[in-house]
Amino acid sequence: MRFVDEFRDAELGRAVAAEILSLVAPGRHYKLMEVCGGHTHSIYKYGIDDLLPANVELVHGPGCPVCVIPMGRVDDGIALARQPGVIFTCFGDMMRVPGSSGTLLDARAEGADVRMVYSPLDALRIARASPDREVVFFAIGFETTAPSTALTLRRAKAEGVANFSCMCSHVTIVPPLRALLESPDLRLDGFIGPGHVCTVVGARPFEFIPADYRRPVVISGFEPLDILQSVVMILRQLRDGRCEVENQYTRVVPYEGNPRALEVMAEVFELRPHFEWRGLGFISHSGLRLSAAYADFDAELRFSVPGVRVADPKACQCGEVLKGVIKPWECKVFGTACTPERPIGTCMVSSEGACAAYYNFGRFARVREAV
């Protein structure tokens, strides 16, 4: 594929890897967090870890949009999906996230009309085509997906599609990062910044990380060479004693973001006072709900949902794993009560979560040393 293959060139990859090796100080351990689940996916898909020296460790951050949805909200979604006449639409990987008693997939097997969509516009299309049904879209994701939900709602309002509504569970990336950075036991040296989010919000919202917490941030693209180059840029900052926001993904990310996307988000959404994150607990001003102007499209107002908070299982230590404080295998339930088939915590839910990845790949890593 043109314009993509160029960023998957193995020769260049090895050259960048050599540069990484030249930048690390022997005896120092570097922990870099990739914030976005998309990065985690690329890192595993291409085996990028294999090109890094042993003392450069990539820690998987809180940016997997489905993993961070707490159990209570999954339960609310399932309750909505079970209402008579409702067609419940959501992104595919949300369907497997467990609530307190099962997943949306289970609800579908029990007769709920749960449908996978690739875009909120698909959900709106279903609503237009099924005027006698109520179509609810489970809106999740960071600033990457929020603008498309906002545009869809704007269109639904303009067209007066009365049988369409949204269960808004959009979140914003800066508050959880701040929460992580506030943690006294944090052990991270730098951040690979979320390129897709930054296409919308720009690089400026991340300036607090170097300013307040003295950690470098490099906004990164998602191809293997993007990620490797971002590692180089972070290591250079660390070597030079600098810390600033740099933009590796200049071909897509304008420093100021996308004003039109921000404008439609401001029109359609408002900040919730607080929002619960699976594994991280309540974080102030971290979630979005529909603004008063769009209240008619708010599924949580249109239907009654239980809205019951379900505590993360006590033994689950996803928060510590996310902060890089403990390793997956140090969690009490890892591999016993919590497995990829029956996940408890956010890190095991998605195949990109740190625990699922370790469960699937850890055994191999150990064998690799023996070979």
Partner: protein
């Protein structure tokens, strides 16, 4: 794979113990504990395997079934026969490159072929939905007749049922087939040895991608045509060229090449290493898979085979395969190694990853 397990760090007791637990859990015989059937049970991944190994096989146990091959082997006097059966529930009924009728013939004869049996005859059961336009039925009967002729098998018996409107999505088809085990074939899923090579008879992912696009759920325009077709000519050519150097074959239908490789890595207790760059994927399939967040290695093929051969037989095997229509892109995609047993690894341009069994339905990622 993250740097937590690095060469410099000795593994802690805790980690050793946890890895031990995982190892035991993976090695354990699956238990069927689900409360209800979900789509995952039909997706060809771990849930399907659990259903088969923990419910069906124990209940119906016999030697032929226990092999869990694509076809069961039975003896009748001196003759060794292979028997296979399959149900076809594809939606839509027609798609670029084929239709449910054509699939119902090819799918079953291919299960016989990769078991090393020359297809002889088929049975045909039609389950029709009340209200199905007769023309659609005529079209599918035509497709079945044409595919049977192309595969050189006869449909020798059949059954027809009609169910109420709202059931059976228009039409479901079940076919069973018998084949005569070829004397040149000495195939076993447990026969893979380190050093053996993995061959693929053509590009991957076309059938599944064509179906996904034909459902029209994705607003994607791409010219992808199903690869459905009979495999006996390719199997015949392979057996003629390499005989006993052919260890095992599979047709990578549900769950794709990845699932087949995982099944055989476990059955032979070996590792299989695939070179990603060597796997042929048509640009349109690669593009659609990229957009949909799906790995083509898990997408169904309906006219491809994966063959394991001794290293010395590779040139003969490939030239034989490439001489068969539809197998021009046949190639070697990887090899069998001793370590780590039971696992499939992919070598990318940058490093390696594990290509695991599918858990659940292949659900697309959103970002």
């Amino acid at each position: 794979m993250s740097g937590g397990v690095s060469a410099q760090q000795a593994l802690s007791d805790r980690e050793q113990r946890v890895l031990g637990i995982i190892e035991t859990a993976r090695g354990k015989r699956a238990r069927f504990r689900d409360e209800q059937i979900t789509m995952a049970h039909g997706a060809g991944g771990r849930a399907t395997q659990t259903l088969i190994e923990a419910l069906l096989e124990p209940a119906l146990h016999n030697d032929a079934l226990a092999a869990l091959g694509d076809a069961g082997l039975v003896s009748a006097g001196a003759a060794r026969l292979a028997l296979s059966t399959d149900a076809y529930v594809v939606r839509p009924l027609r798609f670029p490159g084929g239709s449910i009728g054509e699939l119902a013939v090819n799918g079953t004869v291919n299960d016989l072929a990769v078991s090393g049996a020359r297809p002889l005859a088929l049975s045909l059961s039609l389950i029709l939905e009340e209200g199905l336009p007769a023309q659609q039925l005529r079209d599918e009967v035509q497709a079945i007749a044409a595919a049977a002729a192309a595969a050189d098998v006869q449909v020798v018996t059949g059954d027809t049922k009609v169910v109420e409107r709202g059931h059976a999505d228009g039409m479901y088809i079940c076919t069973s087939g018998i084949g005569l085990c070829d004397e040149r074939a000495q195939l076993s899923p447990a026969s893979l040895r380190p050093g053996d090579r993995v061959l693929l008879s053509g590009s991957v992912g076309e059938h599944g991608t064509a179906i996904m696009l034909a459902r029209g759920e994705f607003d994607l325009d791409a010219e992808v045509v199903s690869d459905t077709g009979p495999l006996w000519p390719a199997v015949d050519a392979l057996l003629e060229a390499v005989g006993a150097d052919l260890r095992c074959m599979r047709d990578p239908t549900r769950g794709g090449v990845a699932s087949v490789l995982n099944e055989l890595a476990r059955a032979s207790s070996v590792a299989i290493v695939v070179r990603e760059a060597a796997v042929p994927v048509l640009p349109a399939v690669a593009g659609a898979a990229e957009l949909l967040g799906i790995d083509p290695m898990y997408v169904a093929c309906e006219g491809r085979l994966v063959a394991f051969v001794a290293a010395r037989a590779v040139p003969r095997a490939l030239s034989a395969l490439r001489g068969v229509a539809g197998c021009e892109l046949a190639c070697e995609i990887g090899e069998v190694r001793a370590q780590p047993p039971g696992m499939v690894l992919v070598e990318t341009s940058f490093g390696r990853r594990v290509m695991d069994q599918l858990v659940g339905d292949p659900l697309p990622r959103i970002c």
